[in-house]
């Protein structure tokens, strides 16, 4: 029912950006579906195997920006064997064939070959932005192709990728005519780069706002680069190691004083702590600070730094800061919204963090809504306090280093603590559990976590009931990943329709058998049920009663995929 001409609706739709909203729009009526699909420029595909590239191109002719995710989340933790899939080449090939005017490609956990980067760089003359997160299999040769061929490149953002560094000088491949860079992040590269080339690149990129260096860029080069880019907003320092020439250091301090726009700081892969004083001029303005790779900064120096960061909204840090340090964070960073505390290899145990640090944070930072917290222990009392202090959690991820540790004060499981979290944080969308947990915690989750979309469970639960509570209760569940829990066939098969409402389910080292997976696959043709059989010869049919080591199922319109390795059985 349209009271407006199409052009008006199109115009209105321009204001609708989020893909979820757009998805909703497209379901209203046929004409809205049509208008929406013709005007959508950005598409997000959470599972690259859920749909074929051809179908995507067919539906969205105006496609300019594509986000793709490949491997399941647990691949981050080495649970997915090599070669599983997530190859981007077929997508790039199809997009090229379909003459899509691609401008932006964002990939996460995908296999990106140099060939795909080559093809990408040549097939899309308007290509502007490449973001690769946790990808693998490309080398600096692929980067060279991007640098050389993408005339209008604005963004090259490499986050935590495994990149093979070949001896070629990929940075030199940016032609002199390339002046459009806005964002360049190569912090994850391990090799040397030519700092002279980098300096010149920075010098001719007046729009450069974000620059993240790798560890091969020394202090003096950093100073020269920053001198040419005082307009930077986001800086990743590769290495800040003492230069014997005091002059360079003094120069750096002067230069930092001129960088008045930096609000985001990261890196310090190599650092001499006393050089951090050079950073002090920019600390008060920082809204984002990522020191999670700065193993060289001892806790005491971290604390000294933090005291200056009153405007911080996002903090990623290592647990060497200690509970005491987190107390300082709580007192200083009143605007804190996101906190991630990563475990260090610190042998001095007293420097690590416990529930005390988290409680302190919750008391001092009421705006906190995202948390990733690796700690040595957690108590129910602490979680209950945190739940009370911070009812705004959207993401709450707790990783106790000893995965099944109970509350050390009471020796009880952490059911009540997490129960309090889900009960209090009604907007919780993502939750990761750890510590000793019975079925009860899942009862709570099913009851209270109404907005929960992603749940990660490890070494928890007692029976199928646990998983069933979750499947029944969490209506908005999209991703469920379970490892080492006693959930079996009953839990898997009770509500098979549920899985079509979800993106994916991962179960590894649980009690599910091959037979049950077969039943599931048969009942639900629009699911790909993959089981990984790494240790058996490919032609050996697994026994139905055999337990499945790893199962990954996902809804799909693309049918069984053709690029699965031998050890993956799609049932």
């Amino acid at each position: 029912m349209n009271y407006f001409p199409d052009e008006v609706i199109e115009h209105i739709f321009e204001y609708v950006g989020s893909h979820r909203d757009r998805n909703a729009l497209s379901l209203v009526c046929r004409s809205w579906y049509r208008i929406e699909r013709c005007t959508r420029e950005k598409v997000f595909i959470g599972n690259c195997y859920s749909i074929t590239p051809e179908r995507l191109i067919q539906r969205f002719p105006s496609l300019k920006s594509l986000t793709l995710k490949g491997k399941p989340h647990f691949a981050d933790f080495s649970l997915v064997p090599h070669g599983w899939g997530g190859f981007v080449y077929p997508w790039i090939e199809a997009l090229a064939k379909g003459k899509v005017a691609l401008e932006e490609l964002r990939l996460k956990r995908m296999v990106v070959s140099d060939e795909s980067l080559e093809l990408l760089s040549r097939a899309f003359p308007n290509f502007k932005s490449l973001v690769l997160v946790s990808c693998e299999e490309f080398t600096t040769d692929g980067l060279a192709a991007i640098a050389a061929n993408c005339k209008w490149l604005r963004e090259l953002d490499l986050q935590e990728n495994e990149v093979d560094d070949h001896k070629g000088q990929w940075l030199s491949c940016f032609p002199d005519s390339c002046t459009s860079l806005v964002s360049l992040n190569f912090a994850c590269l391990k090799g040397e780069i030519n700092t002279g080339v980098l300096e010149r690149l920075v010098a001719r990129s007046p729009n450069l706002k974000s620059l993240r260096l790798n560890r091969s860029v020394p202090l003096d080069a950093l100073q020269r680069i920053l001198a040419r880019a005082p307009q930077l907003v986001d800086l990743g320092v590769g290495s800040l190691v003492h230069d014997p020439a005091m002059e360079t250091f003094a120069k750096l301090m002067t230069t930092m004083n001129k960088c008045k726009s930096i609000t985001s700081l990261s890196g310090f892969l190599e650092v001499t702590p006393r050089c951090l004083t050079a950073m002090y001029p920019i600390l008060p303005k920082l809204t984002s600070l990522n020191l999670s790779y700065a193993a060289g900064i001892p806790g005491s120096d971290l604390i000294k730094l933090i005291r200056h960061c009153k405007k911080l909204q996002r903090l990623w840090i290592m647990d060497s800061i200690g509970d005491k340090g987190l107390g300082v964070v709580a007192n200083t960073c009143k605007e804190l919204q996101e906190l991630r505390v990563f475990p260090s290899d610190n042998i001095g145990q007293h420097a690590a963090v416990t529930e005390k640090g988290l409680v302190a944070i919750s008391m001092g930072c009421p705006k906190l809504h995202s948390l990733l917290y690796f700690c040595h222990q957690m108590t129910n009392a602490a979680l209950i306090t945190v739940a009370k202090n911070c009812p705004n959690f959207i993401r709450f991820r707790l990783a106790i280093l000893d995965a099944t540790k109970p509350d050390p004060d009471t020796n009880q499981p952490l059911d009540e603590g997490f129960g309090a979290i889900v009960q209090s944080c009604r907007r919780l969308r993502r939750l990761s559990l750890s510590g000793q947990l019975t079925d009860k915690v899942f009862l709570y989750i099913g009851m209270y976590a109404e907005q929960l979309e992603m749940l990660s469970i490890a070494f928890a639960g007692e029976s199928d009931k646990g998983m069933l509570y979750v499947l029944n209760g969490c209506k908005k569940l999209r991703k469920l990943e379970i490892r080492d829990c006693p959930f079996g066939n009953t839990a898997l098969l009770t509500d098979v329709g549920k899985y079509e409402t979800m993106r994916s389910l991962w179960m590894s080292s649980c009690e599910v058998t091959v037979g049950a997976c077969k039943v599931l696959a048969m009942k639900m043709p629009r699911l790909n049920v993959e089981i990984f059989n790494e240790n058996e010869p490919a032609d050996c049919e697994p026994d139905d009663v055999q337990k499945v080591e790893k199962m990954y199922l996902y809804r799909t319109l693309a049918g069984k995929r053709k690029d699965a390795p031998e050890y993956v059985w799609t049932l």
Partner: protein
């Protein structure tokens, strides 16, 4: 030195609190309570070590994989919980010392740890039994026997021990389950290489792996560096420093010290250090100068940034003891 607080992701350091009943032989079927305890020692050993008991890890929780590449049937007992242990790659769990004795149960599928398995010995943590065993508590017979009952049919499943040695003797302080704690492998790899790098370039106190600190001595023309990690107590440190700086003090020694004679110069230096003239001090993390020897060794190595062998006369105000000591000896 106290039991080393090996600090690994699974909080192994906790383990020292666990009543360390001696690890029983791994091959018995009769599961006693003790065998279900969290333990790290080899049979017969009491100290927490990286190699856990074969028996412990397998008994309750089903079959453990005997090697990375076997992913066969699970012998599964209905109702038995798959515990933490199942997730642990048995490779590291068993030294071959136990292998021969063990009752080789059916191998079961474990975490398939392809390549990532630098899993080293750690006793499994069955959520059920762990609850009664962890921390400081004494095992509650009731729940333990219940868990034992539940998994009884599983009996002893000591896996064969194929080349587990390399894993069993993997870096001492790392006893990890594949994929736990959940850290991106990129981050893990980066931190690992950071560690080596920092060790190589150790300057001041990088904080991990080694602890090179500068040592200065008042009046000496140049400084030295020592790795605090190579000493385990103050005595060792002090004698090492004595040896290092003896050459600077010969001339100032009150007693006739003949250069070149180790014994003589050492003793004169010792006299100096412990006696009248010199006091060993250190700068801690907060930048304060402290007297060496007040805090436990571990705490000292954690907070010490540099050392200074200070003239007694300057040590006034640092600590009354030092002053009195220097006065009394003069």
């Amino acid at each position: 030195m106290s039991t080393p607080l090996e600090h690994d992701y699974i909080g192994l350091a906790e383990k020292k609190k666990i009543p360390s009943s001696s690890s029983s032989s791994s091959s018995e079927d009769g599961k006693t309570f003790k065998e279900t305890e969290l333990r790290l020692g080899l049979p017969g050993s009491e100290s927490p070590e990286r190699k856990p008991l074969s028996g412990v890890s397998l008994s309750l929780f089903g079959n453990l994989n005997n090697n990375n590449n076997v992913m066969n049937h699970h012998v599964h007992v209905a109702g038995a919980k798959r515990g933490f242990s199942d997730a642990i790659d048995a490779k590291w769990a068993f030294s071959d010392a136990h292998g021969s004795d063990s009752d080789l149960g059916k191998p079961s599928a474990l975490f398939s740890p392809r390549g990532s398995g630098n899993v080293v010995g750690k006793p499994p943590l069955d959520p059920k039994t762990i609850s009664t065993q962890q921390g400081n508590s004494i095992n509650t017979p009731a729940s333990a026997s219940q868990s034992i009952k539940e998994s009884k049919p599983l009996q002893e499943k000591n896996p064969q021990l194929p080349a587990t040695n390399e894993h069993a003797s993997a870096p001492a302080s790392k006893a990890q389950v594949v994929g736990w704690p959940p850290i991106r492998s990129f981050r893990k790899n980066t931190m690992a290489s950071n560690l080596t790098k920092n060790n190589d370039e150790a300057e001041g106190k990088p904080g991990f792996g080694c602890l090179y600190v500068k040592v200065s001595m008042d009046g000496a023309p140049y400084l030295r560096k020592v790795d605090l990690k190579t000493y385990s107590n103050y005595k060792e440190l002090s004698s090492a420093l004595e040896k290092m700086f003896s050459c600077f003090t010969i001339g100032q020694c009150n007693s006739p010290g003949l250069p070149g004679k180790d014994g003589l110069s050492e003793s004169s230096l010792r006299d100096l250090l412990h006696g009248s003239e010199y006091v060993l001090t250190y700068e801690d993390k907060d930048g304060d100068w402290m007297l060496v020897g007040d805090v436990p060794w571990e705490m000292f190595t954690d907070s010490c940034r540099r050392l200074r062998i200070m003239k007694g006369s300057e040590a006034i105000g640092l600590a009354p003891r030092a002053v009195e000591k220097s006065k009394s000896q003069n």
